[in-house]
């Protein structure tokens, strides 16, 4: 039996995201999304050869990320790409509803998967001001949203976001339809430094699917600011396989950003 390799939490997040990507989809990866970008490339190299993804600010289609550049705005991210399009064109595809998958996070994430990048507290005079919504408003125009963060704590996982940068399931069942959005689109996966979650089809609430190796249920509850639903059988998140880890380290993230951050 092979010796399983050590891995980092960002690597686990990337691998978990990758496994949920479906062949044939079109995805967009935004600012400061190392795990998402690496997940996209990994999915292409494993089970999703017809998956296409666009790399944020530089608009590279299907770049090779060897190595992963320090930013989605870094021109070197186009290496191995098939096309390089403008920000305005990336926006075109997002607005036109052609994007299947968007990766997103937030300074606040609520139980319905709504995301906030703007403020904590009152908008007019916030206790904390975030960077701004960037591309999250496009979430209402994409089919699936994968949420990911390395900050699973009660300040981030709140009952209700103070500002909606990117729509999730809003106020629960029926609320997307009332807002003119497709009820079944929206956030479908949440991957954090502690666990993997999805959303219950009926209640649209966030639901625990698996705990990362070594994470206790108590710790997860303590770090989540709302009551999480539980899947029928909560598993342990499957760690990266040797092959996945090798692909990440030798073919994608060759400068080891996911081992450093």
């Amino acid at each position: 039996m092979e010796k399983a390799a050590a891995y980092t939490i960002p690597e686990l997040i990337a691998v978990t995201l990758a496994r949920h990507i479906e062949d044939g989809w079109l995805a967009v990866v935004g600012t400061a999304s190392y795990e998402a970008a690496i997940a996209c490339r990994l999915a292409q190299m494993t089970h999703a050869p017809n998956f296409t993804w666009l790399f944020g600010g530089i608009g590279a289609a299907n770049p090779h990320l060897k190595p992963m550049p320090p930013s989605t705005a870094d021109f070197r991210g186009i290496r191995g790409a098939e096309a390089v399009i403008g920000i305005d064109e990336v926006d075109d595809y997002e607005l036109a509803g052609k994007v299947d998958l968007f990766f997103a996070g937030g300074i606040q994430i609520d139980r319905y998967g709504n995301l906030n990048l703007v403020c904590v507290g009152d908008y007019a005079k916030p206790r904390f001001r975030g960077p701004g919504s960037v591309g999250l408003p496009f979430l209402s125009r994409v089919k699936k949203v994968f949420i990911f963060t390395r900050m699973h704590n009660p300040r981030v996982f709140v009952n209700k976001v103070d500002f909606i940068s990117g729509v999730g399931h809003l106020d629960g069942p029926g609320s997307r339809a009332r807002a003119g959005l497709k009820e079944d689109d929206g956030p479908s996966l949440v991957v954090t430094n502690l666990a993997v979650m999805d959303f219950d089809g009926a209640s649209k609430r966030m639901r625990l699917q698996s705990l990362h190796p070594g994470v206790s249920q108590a710790s997860l509850i303590e770090n989540t600011g709302f009551e999480l639903l539980r899947a029928e059988s909560v598993r342990v998140t499957q760690p990266p396989t040797d092959n996945e880890l090798r692909l990440i380290r030798e073919e994608i993230d060759t400068q080891g950003i996911l081992q450093r951050i």
């Binding site: 039996m1 010796k3 399983a4 050590a6 980092t8 939490i9 686990l12 691998v15 496994r19 062949d23 400061a32 494993t46 089970h47 999703a48 050869p49 017809n50 296409t52 590279a60 289609a61 770049p63 090779h64 186009i78 191995g80 790409a81 098939e82 096309a83 390089v84 399009i85 064109e89 926006d91 075109d92 595809y93 607005l95 036109a96 509803g97 052609k98 996070g105 937030g106 300074i107 904390f128 975030g130 960077p131 125009r141 963060t149 390395r150 900050m151 300040r155 981030v156 430094n193 990362h212 190796p213 070594g214 499957q238 760690p239 396989t241 092959n243 996945e244 081992q259 450093r260 951050i261």
Partner: protein, 336 residues
């Protein structure tokens, strides 16, 4: 986006208990990437009669003639044509052959060579509905279509154009901030877009070896299908070596048709010239309906693509003077 930065978190324990899993994720490597290559017959079969079809190219440059002739051969009817701001033979042929119910256009002609005989006849005998547009209608309608927007409001003053009055597709919208009314063009979302380019890879990544005209906008605005014919099929690796040269990204392309000389008798920039002799003969012959019918019989209906190229003379096309164009890297030009 992290609100605050924690210390780097590094899980370094070894994992034994999962290596019993039989279904390794890596075993999901099942599919090869699918190529999008189709024959011209297969590609045109994707176009249903009654569809709206955008045709690329400008003037006598980069027109998807091979695909256009196949549309006539397959007898498509009732098409709603959406034309670039300068359409030529591709439009005249489809209109003359009776494939089109209506046409949205700002110019159909043969530039310095003359007027479009079949288009002219069709309009003068009221056989086709024309939506007279200005160049901005086509360009900004496509832009709105590409962005999923319902319409595009034009700058003030464009209503002096009589088309804005006579083409019912133009409309006005009031800006609630100012109370002013603005002339708007509706979004254009063709069911199918057909373009031709010098090069394309099997996954649909397109390279224009000259101007892109409205080809890219038409491809982006397409609601259902994008069909690309190309003179040269290049490898994915070639695409990846200079991704900045890709003019239309493969993920919006449905069908790639390898069709060398697919623009003939129009020019494929950097590859071959427009065939003026052929074009002038077409114009002369098509001055009458009977002459046009004869042209159709002789060059379109009876010939599939290879037979057409045989008929007009492959040697003759490739021998057309290229006038010192280097169609190599980055489309750069040197003086002849």
């Amino acid at each position: 986006m992290d609100r605050e930065r924690g210390p780097p978190c590094f899980f370094s324990f070894f994992i034994f208990h999962f290596s019993f899993c039989i279904l390794h994720w890596s075993s999901l490597i099942v599919a090869e990437r699918k190529e999008k290559l189709l024959s011209v017959e297969q590609a045109v079969a994707l176009i249903a009669s009654g569809s709206s079809v955008a045709l690329g190219g400008l003037g006598l440059y980069g027109a998807p003639m091979g695909v256009a002739r196949e549309i006539v051969r397959q007898g498509k009817k009732e098409l709603s044509l959406i034309l670039s701001p300068g359409a030529g033979l591709q439009a005249d042929l489809l209109i003359g052959a009776g494939c089109a119910r209506e046409v949205l256009c700002s110019y159909i002609g043969f530039e310095d060579l003359g007027l479009a005989p079949a288009f002219r006849r069709a309009v003068e005998s009221a056989k086709i509905e024309v939506f007279d547009a200005d160049e901005a209608y086509v360009v900004f309608g496509l832009k709105a279509g590409a962005a999923g927007s319902p319409f595009f409001p034009l700058a003030e003053g464009m209503e002096g154009f009589d088309g804005a009055r006579l083409n019912p597709k133009y409309f006005r919208v009031q800006d609630p901030r100012t109370g002013k009314s603005h002339l708007c063009v509706p979004a254009i979302n063709p069911d199918v877009t057909v373009i031709h380019a010098g090069q394309c890879d099997p996954y649909g990544n397109v390279r224009h070896l000259g101007s892109r005209f409205t080809d890219c906008l038409m491809a982006k605005a397409a609601r259902r299908r994008v069909i690309v014919s190309c003179d040269e099929l290049i490898s994915l690796e070639a695409t990846q070596q200079e991704p900045q040269l890709t003019s239309v990204p493969g993920f919006i392309v449905d069908a790639v048709v390898h069709l060398p000389y697919g623009c003939h008798p129009t020019c494929s920039p950097s590859l071959y010239e427009r065939d003026e002799e052929h074009l002038r003969a077409y114009l002369k012959q098509s001055a009458t309906e009977e002459g046009f019918r004869r042209y159709l019989e002789e060059f379109v209906l009876r010939l599939n693509f290879p037979q057409y190229i045989e008929r007009v003379g492959r040697g003759k096309i490739s021998g057309l003077p290229a006038q010192g164009i280097d169609h190599g890297k980055s489309g750069s030009l040197h003086d002849s």
